[in-house]
Symmetry: C2
Subunit: 550 residues, 2 copies
């Protein structure tokens, strides 16, 4: 029977064999800031040793589902349940590798058609079974955790069999695609006929179209190619009370946009089964560029000018002082690193901030934009270092998450989080988030190394993306993570940011949603949900129905 396996290994990111080493320079930096980890080694336990609640789907419900889907499309073996139990947030990984999961789906279901998804949700509603939709399982915000609660059972509905690229409309530059199609499969189909979606989130290799849309995702090239919410022209969403079907429309004034209520609904309203997305022609060239700035302020000012003058690099990523230092320590050899630093010192740059850029398009116009970008970078005291840092970054751009697994094994807690804000708030926000994270962890005796970069430019603002390292508090890793997450999230809201620019809400960001958007909006969202999902079976415990605190 055709029940595709999850593409990621059960206990961590991605596939085996891709873990790159933490380089000596980076280790030295971690030890210096965070203190040497006490030699603790925390390897993941064996899959068989993971403790799960016994599967407990009522037999009648099991039988109804098996009859609908075919017996081979309902699976409740241990491995399948573990691999669909949680996503890939830091607390998810801590729990997975320690083998203590508080919840797991009773079964994983594999519908093969839109109509089967419709019927499945109707059955789950009747049987009072909670439902978690599952694309690639890459959520880093607790978005796919099973909640059994008062329900008679809980299932995970995998979209793995909805894996067709339905139509490429070359005239309208759109693709209609089923929700379960993975990033690389879609890009392969599009690029074969000269197009690209241009959507490359860090999870690209393991995440799906449906997941991108459900989480309001933004890819690493969103500065040039746009966020997923700007690409959605039409969609189909199954709900327990029937489907919402929205025709592809480039733009409309027909009331509030229903697409924008379903985009970002994270499975709480229903299951997105198909979407129509805007696509782009493949660029003739992609021109890399890279600069070192004497400080974060100068680099941010250069980026702002590039975006606001309409230059619009397709990729733009400015690392702050810490992230630049860590990147040099991790990516270059010691000799290379010292050489770079010496050259920069000679140019008066002692706290370098690295900017990588990419310009896509027709050769002539991409070159012109790069030339214009170089003028701007120079005016803001940038020092050019050619294109190789961008090429190097791009080569490794999907492999950074493996580092987290490896560091967790070695006793280092790693987390990432992000926000966005108007340009006028960015620098103060950058500083305050970093300080609050550092204080929250210093207080616990585990000083943090906090890295940050700007990416995802808009004329009106940009995103800030943080990576945090600290020595693990053995046995209290979750409490430690909660402390840093709470400190960061409070600082984001206090500083005028959004609780998430592209990671979505899930369980982990839910407590801050009312603080960002107000209680009335949350009540309105719940009311709309109650119409589509009156029993509340759809992804409970997330977003508008998430917890009040971590």
């Amino acid at each position: 029977m055709d029940t595709p396996q999850p593409r990621m290994r059960w206990w961590g990111w991605g596939e085996d064999g891709h873990d790159g080493p933490v380089k000596p320079g980076a280790k030295k930096m971690l030890n210096k800031v965070c203190g040497r980890s006490a030699g603790v080694v925390n390897p993941p336990i064996d899959l068989d040793d993971v403790q799960l609640p016994a599967p407990a789907l009522p037999p009648e419900a099991f039988a109804r589902i098996a009859e609908l889907l075919g017996a081979g499309h309902i699976r409740d073996d241990h491995a399948r349940r573990v691999s669909h139990s949680v996503g890939r947030s830091t607390p998810d990984l801590i729990r997975l590798r320690s083998g203590v999961l508080s919840s797991a789906p009773d079964a994983v279901l594999y519908p093969g058609t839109d109509a089967e998804v419709d019927e499945l949700l109707a059955i789950c509603q009747e049987e009072r079974i909670s439902v978690v939709p599952f694309g690639g399982g890459t959520s880093v915000v607790g978005g796919i955790e099973t909640v059994r609660g008062e329900f008679s059972g809980s299932v995970c509905i995998s979209l793995a069999r909805l894996d067709e690229v339905v139509d490429i409309d070359e005239e309208s530059l759109t693709v209609t695609v089923q929700a379960g199609v993975f990033g690389p499969d879609l890009e392969e189909r599009l690029q074969a006929v000269g197009f690209t979606l241009g959507h490359f989130p860090q999870s690209f290799e393991f995440s799906t179209v449906g997941g991108w849309v459900a989480t309001r995702s933004a890819g690493q090239q969103s500065t040039g190619y746009g966020r997923i919410d700007a690409k959605v022209l039409g969609l189909r969403c199954s709900t327990p009370t029937g489907p919402v079907e929205l025709r592809p429309s480039p733009a409309s004034a027909a009331g509030p946009d229903p697409r924008q209520l379903i985009v970002g609904s994270e499975g709480t309203l229903g299951i997105i089964t198909e979407v129509t997305l805007g696509i782009s022609r493949l660029p003739e060239v992609s021109l890399p560029d890279a600069w070192f700035f004497p400080d974060f302020h100068s680099g941010a000012a250069a980026l702002r000018e590039m975006e606001q003058t309409g230059l619009r690099p397709d990729i733009a990523r400015l690392s702050d002082v810490n992230e630049t230092a860590f990147g040099l320590a991790q990516l270059g050899s010691g000799v290379q690193r010292k050489g770079v630093l010496a050259v920069l010192r000679a140019r008066g740059i002692t706290t370098p901030c690295l900017l990588v850029l990419r310009y896509d398009g027709q050769r002539a116009s991409a070159r012109m934009r790069r030339a214009d970008g170089r003028d701007i970078a120079k005016r803001h005291k940038g020092v050019s270092v050619g294109g190789s840092p961008e090429t190097m970054w791009e080569k490794h751009r999907f492999s950074t998450p493996y580092l987290r697994d490896q560091l967790l094994t070695e006793g280092t807690l790693v987390d990432t989080l992000e926000t966005s804000a108007p340009w006028s708030a960015i620098e103060q926000l950058h500083d305050s988030i970093g300080q609050e994270i550092e204080e929250s962890l210093a207080k616990r005796g585990t000083p943090a190394l906090v890295l940050c970069h700007i990416s995802h430019l808009y004329s009106t603002g940009c995103s800030l993306y943080y990576t945090i390292f600290a020595r693990q508090e053995e046995g209290r890793e979750i409490a430690q993570w909660k402390a840093l997450k709470t400190a960061a999230s409070d600082a984001i809201i206090a500083g005028g940011g959004t609780i998430t620019h592209h990671h979505a809400t899930g369980r982990d960001h839910a407590p801050w949603i009312p603080r960002e958007t107000g209680e009335l909006w949350v009540r309105m969202l719940r009311a709309a949900k109650a119409e589509a999902d009156p029993v509340g079976i759809m992804n409970p415990g997330k977003l508008m129905n998430g917890p009040d605190q971590l």
Copy 2:
């Protein structure tokens, strides 16, 4: 007391003294296609002769409101009530000028602060008074018609006193502005410091920021500067149960976007009191260009290529054969027109379609884009005619609505309507809408002249905008209008379009909303509304609570 008058004359569009003549050539064309109007002349009656239901606000409610706002800020004189009774749709104008209005607000209220709007809505909810928010009163879809129904009274809340530009954030390229600020006033403030919103709907002179946001408006330069929904970063919306306050955010993944539920809500959820919008730097130059194409297909193909290659003209407007002919008849002298047609015939063009374009930006890059655009136009068999047709169009772009008033006086029914669709559906949709309108009116013995243009380009599609002329059926003008409107709307939905690209929904498009988006979405929207407005006082009879048929 400070209760500003509406800016438009009570019986028609705009201000007196701007009515341009219908030129002989255009009259001749109308007579030829539609048949000579029977010499009927329908001037508007006197304001004093307009029949209104007597004002009937319960005295206790009147007193509470007067106490809150100050007695001078509640007005129920005849003139004020007439000028706030309906918008400027064709049926609105027919009713206004005949002096028979089925409804009018009992009073017009002028709150002066956000807090007063909050309190006013709370009072109206307690007193069961229906509320119509009023910006400039330019709705062409029945968006501001009073519904008394089972309510104890009905009021119009004018935003005229919320007229401050609160802040221009030059670093983030945003403006924060109160809802009652009119287009020209905002542009004056922005342009004085080197910026523009770039939002120029045909109603620009008489419409407000709040109205634009509430109706999900798009301006004539939206191809370059973007639609209003893409400009909204933050907003404040008073509802009967309290305000929704959304901080300015360039982008977010924090669940469904609450901004996009309030944008386009047309006063049915609450009253938008303040918004933060993205702005642009004033362009160094605006370069006009214009082309004649041998047919609509060639012109559409050229526009599609311009947009999809990233050239992005800031204004682009392609008239079909009928609109081009009417435009030549109306704008040029007979000699000019014959000269143009002779030149085109010599180039093999017998059914010319006029394209006007504008390229804004830095001089060098605007020139380059225009040069690239010219290459594309030539490849699609376009014949260049310099920039003057664009300049001419721009000069008259806000005065076309006056023509409608004049033609109504002369016995000719005029209506406009619009849609958008993916490029692959556009040409068939263009033909089918036109045919259905023509058939619906021919059947009634009033053959129609139907003009259309493409404007508002997106990489994935564009909008179609229709102007319809027919001899009025004296005494049955509303039935005649309903017939053409129903035929056009049915054709739009059948052909894959949206019921409105930028006119909004109001009362007139409400019957087609469930057919476009499905009943479930309408129920979800109603549920969200019930949370903000449980008594249902906010702009009843519109959008999700509109009629099932015209």
